[in-house]
Amino acid sequence: MVCESWKAKLDTYLDGELPSEEMRDFDTHVHNCSSCAADALTRVQMKRGIQAAGKRFAPTSEFRRRVQSTIATKPHRRFRLTWMFAAALSILTVASLLSTYLGVQRSRREQVYSEIADLHVAALASSSRVDVVSSDRHTVKPWFQGKIPFTFDLPEVQNSEFSLVGGRMTYLGQTPGAHLIYAVRKHQISVFVFQEGALRRGWDKSSAVTKELSFNMATWSQGGLRYFVIGDASTADINNLAKLFKSTSS
């Protein structure tokens, strides 16, 4: 059998798995050998028959959907977890930044309150508490002209329990402002007025009276000016004086 050695490799040849050199030799042989050519033809037909017959079973579309849904849920879950993790991280970052920002703002505010309290105490401890001594607001207000870069209105306190002691120049940091002193019964209350923009601080929108270094303090912004009312008087007194200023300036 001359072709025995060829036929032994016929399947491998038809599967295209012989080395390229042997494939070329086999091609040549099959072209010249009718026996091997016929054998190759029948085996190719067999392969084709198996290929056609082998593709026999098809899954139902319902089964496909079922499997797809089971494998599709996990990546989505991973995606959701990733997204949730990223969102949580973002929230933490924002919260952290916000906390830092608020902390800085709070720290600055506390610093300002502390300075305001210092100014109040320093003025009361001074032998000359005020530079302009007058209970008349129409005397005190003009005194500030040319001394501070803004003007403001003083409330009429004649019919109230408050009395104007006088006023003086003051500085908060490097910002010039007005310092007014009022008396209510035996308590001295300072009212500070500064330009809001010059202070560049973050303030609570609430103008409620707060406790700062045991002093009662109220602060608010009105007409581009920042007001501070501070003293050892009661919360109600601080609040009432603040209301008088607010009603005058509005």
Partner: protein, 193 residues
């Protein structure tokens, strides 16, 4: 289908695995010979593959990996164990098959396109022969892919494939000879008419 790119995580398992769904199901049905069992096998294969996707090695053949999971799952199933235990695999050292007669089962098969007969014969093959013929001729896997799928050397792929084909031809021959005789009678009858 070869994995490439940044890694298994960068590609969706669904995108890689679902295009193989039909052929994996077909293969599973051939192995189990039962629709319900085939569905269970495919479902379990996809679940296992998804769980193990993160450990899938880059540069290896994804299709062969999927088929290997399916086959291993089948072999450890009750049906798989039964199939492999009741039909022991013949030794791999069988000599090559030689001469082919002029009137061969293949010729007759081609002429009559007797698909059902062929399907029946494939279904009756021992599972080790059935799977290797399907992987080679239906799935058109290379010997290397088959070796990866079945976890056997390429030399074993060649010898097992050769014996599987020979077995299939041997089993088809008497049926086709009977069919051929019937066809000849019918042919003669027609001519007589």
């Amino acid at each position: 289908m070869w994995m490439s790119g940044l890694g298994p995580q960068s590609d969706s398992f669904e995108e890689l695995a679902m295009p193989l769904f039909d052929q994996l199901y077909n293969f599973a049905h051939w192995l189990t010979q039962n629709r319900e069992e085939a569905e269970d096998l495919v479902q379990e294969t996809y679940a296992k593959a998804l769980r193990g996707f993160s450990s899938f090695q880059l540069g290896t053949n994804f299709r062969a990996w999927m088929y290997r999971i399916l086959r291993n799952t089948f072999l450890t199933s009750r049906t798989g164990l039964k199939a492999t235990m009741t039909v022991p695999l013949d030794p791999e050292e069988d000599g090559p098959e030689l001469a082919v007669e002029f009137e061969t089962p293949e010729t007759i098969l081609f002429e009559r396109a007797n698909r059902e007969l062929l399907q029946s014969a494939i279904g009756e093959l021992p599972v080790y022969f059935r799977e290797i013929i399907l992987l080679c001729d239906v799935e058109e896997m290379s010997y290397q892919e088959i070796a990866e799928t079945l976890s056997i050397p390429i030399g074993t792929v060649m010898s097992r494939l050769s014996r599987a084909r020979k077995t299939l031809r041997d089993r088809l021959r008497p049926q086709f000879q009977a069919g051929s005789a019937t066809a000849t009678i019918a042919k003669g009858t027609n001519r007589g008419l």
